[in-house]
């Protein structure tokens, strides 16, 4: 699903490459890019500042209760904790630019390595959940919109109301209770690793993906429905019908793509949410993902890991939103020529 916007963007880009609008598209992209960079810079300062005020010394945590002061000092020097904060900020940011996220205080391995490992769980999980939620939400939303006000619509919309109201961690607990503990269809948690094969990996991500996806699907389905209903009321839908398109054809050819514009925003937001917001779900299913890494690192005072992961997540969110904006401009040609 993540590739959809890019695909659109690409398609529209190539198709329209000959028109002067490329300039406005570029301008638009550049403007957004500049604000992206500024956002990232501000974000990095904020993250660093917030984390630096946190009490707790990583060295003493690592060495435990019986450690002596000289040992601690030795370790602090080794971890690079003995320079000024400003210096450390620039070391950190400078390192990140070249892909060096520093070394984890507790694991003593490169943070980039750890993040890469965790991404192999979090990213597939987020994509899986996003695919699921989109795959559920689109048909449901379109079905409900097409059947507006009829019993089918009311039932489906009632279900989505319920879906939104269910806390996903609670839902996860119930899934584990039913499908892992009672029925034993799935493992209760853990991640077998991709080394065991693609399907084994997907199998262990299925329950978490469902727990994440259903509440999101409920939201997405509602957005899809109302967006479609808005579009169905537009004049051009009537024009399409007057051309001889059936209700269905009009819906698919003219409705869906226009309705996608608000839906796209939600999908962008959801992707970021799924990437970052699965902390609790990763806890419930003890998945070794980014979210759990942050949680563990916070409790272990592994500041460098926390900083880097949060920064990465912010980067992901900002970038996804940037791409969504570009995709917007691609889906909606009007946007490109606007100021």
């Amino acid at each position: 699903m993540r590739f959809l916007p890019i695909f659109w963007f690409h398609r529209c880009w190539t198709r329209r490459a000959h028109t002067p609008n490329v300039a406005s598209m570029l301008r638009y992209a550049l403007k957004r890019l500049i604000s992206l960079v500024i956002s990232l810079a501000v974000a990095s300062v904020v993250i660093f500042a917030v984390i630096e005020v946190a009490p707790g010394d990583p060295a003493s945590f690592m060495l435990g209760v019986n450690a002596q002061e000289d040992t601690l000092a030795a370790l602090r020097a080794e971890l690079g904790l003995d320079v000024s904060k400003v210096q450390r900020y620039f070391n950190w940011v400078g390192g990140m630019m070249v892909g060096d996220f520093g070394t984890s205080y507790t694991y003593r391995t490169p943070v980039s390595q750890m993040i890469a490992d965790r991404l192999w769980v979090s990213l597939p999980l987020a994509l899986y959940a996003l695919t699921l939620s989109t795959a559920i939400a689109f048909p449901v939303g379109i079905y409900a919109a097409a059947r507006r006000g009829k019993p089918g619509d009311l039932t489906v919309m009632g279900a989505t109301q319920l879906g939104i109201a269910v806390p996903n961690f609670w839902f996860a607990m119930m899934l584990v209770l039913v499908f892992a503990i009672n029925l034993r269809w799935f493992n209760a948690g853990g991640f077998a690793g991709w080394a065991m094969g693609f399907w084994t990996g997907m199998h262990s991500l299925t329950l978490p993906a469902i727990a994440l996806a259903l509440p999101q699907a409920a939201i997405l389905a509602r957005v899809m429905r109302s967006s479609l209903l808005d579009i169905l009321g537009e004049d051009f839908m009537r024009t399409a019908r007057a051309k001889g398109l059936s209700r269905r054809q009009a819906l698919w050819r003219h409705g869906v793509r226009n309705a996608l514009i608000p839906v796209l925003t939600i999908i962008g937001l959801q992707f970021s949410f799924l990437l970052a917001g699965s902390i609790i779900i990763e806890q419930v299913f003890y998945l070794p993902g980014l979210g759990r890494l942050v949680f563990q690192a916070i409790s272990a005072r592994d500041l460098i890991v926390v900083e880097s992961v949060v920064m990465l997540l912010v980067f992901a969110v900002i970038t996804v939103n940037f791409l969504v904006d570009l995709a917007y401009a691609a889906v909606d040609p009007r946007l490109r020529s606007r100021t």
Binding site: S24, R27, G149, F236, R238, G244, H254, N258, S337
Partner: protein, 536 residues
């Protein structure tokens, strides 16, 4: 045999009767115009023919196209007919096209959806129809998006879509209402041409009686969902039976007589006013461009004078209004009211502002829906140094409401409790309440039905009598400006191209543009009433 035959068509939506026993027929090559005031059921009749009625609609009667009843057909048959046998053009060209598809795709879709021809040929046909409606592909490539076209051009695309398969019947619902007079004239000409060329039947819906009189072979007048009168154009125009029809025609050409202007001293003086809007950069590193909306405009308005400003949409009328009101700073020139500048030191000059008021076009958007009438019309009191309170306030409210033909009791109501015409009266009351020296009317009657418009014009004439108004009346409607002003200015692309005594400008226009404008404006034929003069 007639192409379309509507027989005793009745329609109700969710139990509300919308149409009652409508009868109408069209022969090939014939133009039938349906007219009537807003809400009379014109559009519903058209949609009933297309069978594109809103949910909850129940129809009885018969709608025969080529002899077979649309009401008996199933959805598949209807889809096959729509676009192929019956084409339809809608009122609002700005929204009638899908913004995310190219015009080529949208026109071609009509052809492809009916599998009328293979894609290659469909493309050729698309280019052909687009050329036919005046959008040759060398100047308007198929890959354009709707937002890259003007309103009139979009309407041509919509027409191209409707005629791509040469339908026998074309339905056009207010196809030109949103367009300029000159563009309107072109579109109407196009439609007329298509009718004779393809021998189509055209069902044309419009509330503009001048257009009706000009275009139609047959006229159908509707009111409250009923056909009150119908017949061949020439015959109907001269032998109107129904009082409603008479009223409608009378109101369309309604003229008022203004009292003689009172005193005369220069009140508003504009010299070389320039107003530029910044435009987005065209290229990445260009300096931002400018759009000159008002270009070296100079004029003087004497007190007691009623000045008109006409021009097409987008020529800068509203921009000039805002500059006069001191709402926006001008980039050049000088605007003075009673000798004082309206804008001093980057700030509006409130001392001058209190001598002016304005009435806007949209009777629905000009009022805060959350305030009561009393509060709404007293808002300009804010400009006074001493607040008007207590009984004086009540008296002023009562006086104003009475003056505009409402009752003092209306002061406690909310705005949504009033009709469009009543709202415009309230807007006038608001403008008058601080007794301004000058009132600006920006398209103040354009959104109103003809009969309501006539009332408001009468009201203005009365008020001129009672309060010695001085105003600037802005409109694109020549017939209105003509009757309500003493002097008129013609604006085009930000410039005043002609100025003079209203009577002489209309009878003997000097500038070519003014001539075109007057020529393009549809005219009610002389049907023998003194009020409906046709000689401009």
């Amino acid at each position: 045999m007639s192409l379309l035959e509507i027989e005793n068509l009745s329609l109700s939506i969710h139990g509300t009767d919308i149409l009652k026993q409508v009868n109408l027929s069209i022969a090939p090559g014939q133009i039938v115009a349906v007219t009537g005031e807003s809400g009379s059921g014109k559009s519903m009749t058209a949609l009933a023919v297309m069978q594109l009625l809103p949910d909850g609609a129940k129809t009885t009667g018969a709608i025969r196209v080529n002899g077979s009843d649309m009401l008996d057909r199933d959805e598949n048959d209807l889809c096959a007919l729509r676009g192929a046998a019956i084409g339809m053009v809608f009122q609002e060209p700005m929204t009638a096209l899908n913004p995310v598809k190219t015009i080529g795709d949208q026109v071609m879709e009509t052809i492809l959806i009916h599998k009328a021809m293979p894609p290659r040929q469909a493309r050729d046909r698309t280019e052909e129809v687009l050329t036919r409606v005046g959008l040759p592909p060398d100047r308007f490539p198929l890959s354009r998006f709707p937002h890259e076209l003007s309103g009139g051009q979009r309407q041509r695309v919509v027409i191209a879509m409707a005629i791509a398969l040469r339908p026998k019947l074309l339905i056009a619902d207010e196809p030109t209402t949103a367009l300029d007079v000159t563009t309107q004239a072109q579109i109407l000409k196009l439609l007329k041409g298509l009718v004779s060329e393809y021998d189509m039947g055209l069902l044309m819906i419009t509330h503009d009686l001048a257009v009706v009189a000009d275009m139609a072979d047959q006229i159908v007048v509707m009111r409250h969902g009923e056909v009150v009168e119908s017949g061949a154009t020439a015959h109907l125009l001269h032998h109107m039976q129904h009082p409603y029809t008479r009223m409608l025609f009378k109101a369309s050409g309604h003229q008022v007589s203004l009292p003689e202007p009172a005193k005369s001293r220069p009140l508003l003086e504009a010299t070389n006013v320039i107003r530029d809007y910044r435009l987005p950069r065209k290229r990445l590193f260009d300096s931002p461009g400018h759009h000159r909306a008002v270009d070296h405009v100079s004029f003087t308005l004497n007190s007691g004078e009623r000045l008109g400003l006409v021009g097409e949409s987008g020529c800068g009328k509203s921009t000039l209004t805002k500059a006069i009101l001191g709402l926006e700073e001008v980039q050049g020139g000088d605007i003075r009211l009673d000798g004082q500048p309206v804008f001093s030191g980057h700030k509006p000059n409130l001392a001058v502002r209190r001598m002016m008021q304005v009435v806007f076009q949209d009777p629905y958007g000009s009022f805060n829906p959350r305030h009561r009438v009393a509060r709404l019309i007293t808002e300009p009191f804010n400009l006074l140094d001493a607040p008007v309170m207590g009984s004086e306030r009540q008296d002023r409210i009562a006086e104003m409401l009475t003056a505009v033909g409402l009752s003092p009791d209306d002061a406690g109501k909310y705005i949504h409790e009033f009709s469009g015409g009543q709202r415009q009266r309230i807007a006038i009351a608001r403008a008058l309440i601080i007794r301004p020296e000058l009132i600006l009317f920006d398209e103040a009657v354009s959104a109103l039905d003809v009969s309501v418009r006539a009332q408001i014009l009468d009201l203005l004439a009365e008020l001129c009598e009672a309060y010695d108004l001085t105003y600037l009346f802005i409109s694109h409607d020549l017939s209105v400006v003509r009757t309500i002003t003493d002097r008129v200015m013609v604006m085009r692309a930000g410039k005043i191209v002609e100025e003079g005594d209203t009577k002489s400008v209309f009878s003997d226009p000097q500038h070519q543009y003014t001539k075109d404008l007057i020529k393009a404006a549809p005219v009610l034929p002389d049907i023998g009433w003194d009020v409906a003069k046709t000689t401009y």
